[in-house]
């Protein structure tokens, strides 16, 4: 009864995509942390390590449970009878006969689980746990295939090493060689310590800079850390965070500072129904954030808005300059957007304002859609105005003549615990209002690709140098 319940539960968990399971654990733990801090006055961080470990533990349950049960069930009943007949208690029979005999099958389950979990662990980046997934996510965003490959190969090597260490333990247990077991356990302990050490040694005073999962965010996070370090404030970045995770993480002091966009917060975070003119939206947003103790330090000076983009030559040929112009042609056209765009309120607003109805709708990784629209594979894309690829591919942004899309000023947000940190404010002050759209586009373009000088840190230094020349 208990067995089938457990197995059923583990099977259901297993059918969930790893990314979804990890992502679900964040709000779940967040709610739990709120409850415990209300009831017992003790909260805990629902960010990063804890949700990752819990979700991955759940994820590894099925192979371990199933193999343990299969292994124990596969034991010849004559042997368990012999164990009882020799005078063993149920516990002694389990420890001295059943578990040792089921060991190969149980270990096979543990090894399967280990390999799965190491692979799945790369998906814990979006919920704030630094992992090998950081390389993969960053690499995918900046089209740095060396990064992607490095992340994948490192995870594969780690999985193989752990698997072999477990195999060593298994054979050591089977042939009763304590030395094998010890080496295997030691190896795993060293690996565990090596992976845990960075997060344990981090001092409390380190400023954590958050970044979402796209190039511009990596660059801006690098720029902020660069400035903080220059001001003698130790800083570390937490990159590749899901856009649903990052705001809550800031509100809960799990990260200290990050850059968001006014329209995104307005529409997605606070679900404001009506659009406001740019300045009005900003000041109202500032007040709303202040009620949650979050400081809107200021604007960086550019907007990264959603915009409908198409090749300039094609738009001119068709006489399309605004979204109103586009609406007439939309029925024969296809549109592509990133994974979240079509679920965002902006898309609903656009459809409503212009009566847009496309022939086909596709979702793409944001970096691929620029190439897709340039090559004519899709007709229109929902891109970002600060993207460096707009210039590279000769695209044009269609005019939002009915103002369906809010403004998206890049704004620097500070966590509640850093609200009165004068040193932090002073370090970031020189960035405010200094980054215009052209510079940001150039920076984003520079940060794309495999070259050594396309790393976010290098681009951030370039960006700092550039805005200071002006």
């Amino acid at each position: 009864m208990l067995r089938s319940t457990l197995l059923g539960f583990a099977s259901i968990v297993q059918t969930m995509p790893g990314l979804a399971l990890l992502a679900l654990f964040y709000p779940l733990l967040l709610a739990l942390a709120t409850l415990t801090s209300q009831w017992f006055g003790v909260g805990f961080s629902a960010f990063g390590f804890l949700p990752s470990v819990l979700a991955l533990t759940l994820y590894s349950m099925l192979p371990v449970l199933r193999n343990t049960i299969t292994g124990l069930q596969g034991i010849d009943p004559a042997l368990t009878e012999a164990a009882r007949g020799a005078g063993m208690t149920a516990r002694q029979s389990l420890a001295m006969v059943e578990l040792p005999l089921a060991l190969p099958v149980i270990m096979a389950g543990i090894r399967t689980a280990a390999v799965w979990v190491i692979g799945t662990a790369t998906l814990s980046t979006p919920i704030g746990q630094t992992s090998l997934g950081n390389y993969i996510f960053a690499g995918l965003q900046t089209q740095n295939w060396v990064f992607v490959l490095f992340g994948c190969i490192a995870a594969a090597v780690l999985a193989l090493v752990v698997d072999q260490l477990l195999a060593l333990i298994e054979s050591g247990l089977r042939i009763r060689r304590r030395i094998h077991v010890s080496i295997g356990l030691l190896g795993i302990a060293v690996l565990a310590a090596a992976t845990l050490a960075p997060s344990l040694t981090r001092t409390k005073s380190t400023t954590i800079v958050g970044a979402k999962t796209f190039t511009e965010q990596y660059v801006l996070a690098a720029l902020i850390s660069h400035r903080l370090q220059a001001a003698d404030l130790p800083a570390t970045t937490r990159e590749g965070l899901g856009s649903n995770v990052i705001f809550d993480a800031l509100a809960n002091d799990d990260i200290d500072v990050y850059v968001d966009y006014s329209g995104t917060l307005w529409a997605n975070q606070f679900h404001m129904p009506e659009l406001k003119p740019r300045q009005e939206l900003l000041s109202e947003l500032k007040a709303t954030l202040a009620r949650r103790n979050i400081t809107l330090l200021g604007e960086l000076g550019f907007e990264n808005a959603y915009a409908l983009l198409m090749p300039k030559t094609r738009a001119d040929a068709l006489g399309i300059h605004s979204i109103s112009d586009l609406a007439a042609h939309a029925g024969k056209m296809s549109i592509a957007g990133d994974y979240e765009f079509f679920a965002r309120p902006e898309w609903t607003a656009l459809k409503k304002a212009y009566g847009l109805s496309f022939r086909e709708r596709r979702q793409m990784q944001s970096d691929f859609m620029y190439a897709a629209v340039a090559s004519g594979e899709v007709d229109v894309i929902a891109g970002y105005t600060s993207d460096g690829l707009i210039a590279k591919y000769g695209l044009t942004a269609l005019d939002d003549d009915r103002h369906a899309i809010p403004s998206y000023d890049a704004i620097v947000l500070l966590a509640p615990q850093r609200a009165n940190d004068a040193k932090l404010r002073a370090a970031l002050q020189p960035l405010l209002g200094k980054i215009d759209i052209a510079v940001m586009r150039e920076a984003n373009l520079r940060a794309t690709g495999n070259g050594a000088d396309s790393s976010p840190a290098t681009v951030a230094r370039w960006l700092w140098a550039t805005i200071n020349e002006k």
Partner: protein, 268 residues
Amino acid sequence: MSETSPLVAFSHVVKSFNGGRARGGNVRAVDDVSFDIAAGEFLAVVGGSGSGKTTLLRLANRLIDPDAGTITVAGEDIAGIDPIGLRRRIGYVFQSGGLFPHMNIAANIGITPRLLGTPKSEIAARVDELLDLVQLDRAQHRDRFPHELSGGQRQRVGVARALAAKPRIVLMDEPFGALDPVTRDALGSDYRALHARLGLTTVMITHDMTEALLLADRVAVMHEGRLIALGAADELSRLDNPYVGELLGTPRRQAERLQATLSQSIRL
């Protein structure tokens, strides 16, 4: 304990199992069975498959508990004895050895003393003593694993394991059934000698009447859960029971036929 009081006694013992097809779902594997076993006696229990003979044996060391009736060991009702302690006091030899494949021979033999907390050095000495007793070479067998041994050797280890904690009573469940006739005969007589030498009380299950008659002091015949006959060879032959008659007659007829065949082939 006096000579006359039985060492093991079954009194109106009933044991049913669920899931039987024949008798309305519940099968009486053991049906109102009563008998005594004297200290030092060698009793063989004979019967066909499903006659309840193995159930009888498992009841004696509380691997299962009866639905009704009482079983006493050394005058004590075993229903009131801790089953674990009881089993450690009674030797049990399983059908095909029942040796633990992941333990070497020494560990297999020493298992019950180990459970009883006997010091390691004592266990090691006892294992060597037992290997001598069942006529296995110490050095050659101690560190080997069950799968490296022949069937006969495994069964000798099974006997050694049953004797490890110096029990007074040994229960054997078709111990030699899976062996070739020559090995089986040798092992049977070796065990009978051990039984006498160590002053054991033995209950042995077998489906082979010849083996039972040759080794045991008395033979109990089980049929469909009931004890239909109990006695020494001559007592059984005087009984007017067709099933017992058949059981006794078969080996004799076989012997006669064998004799005839052999003399024929000699004449040729």
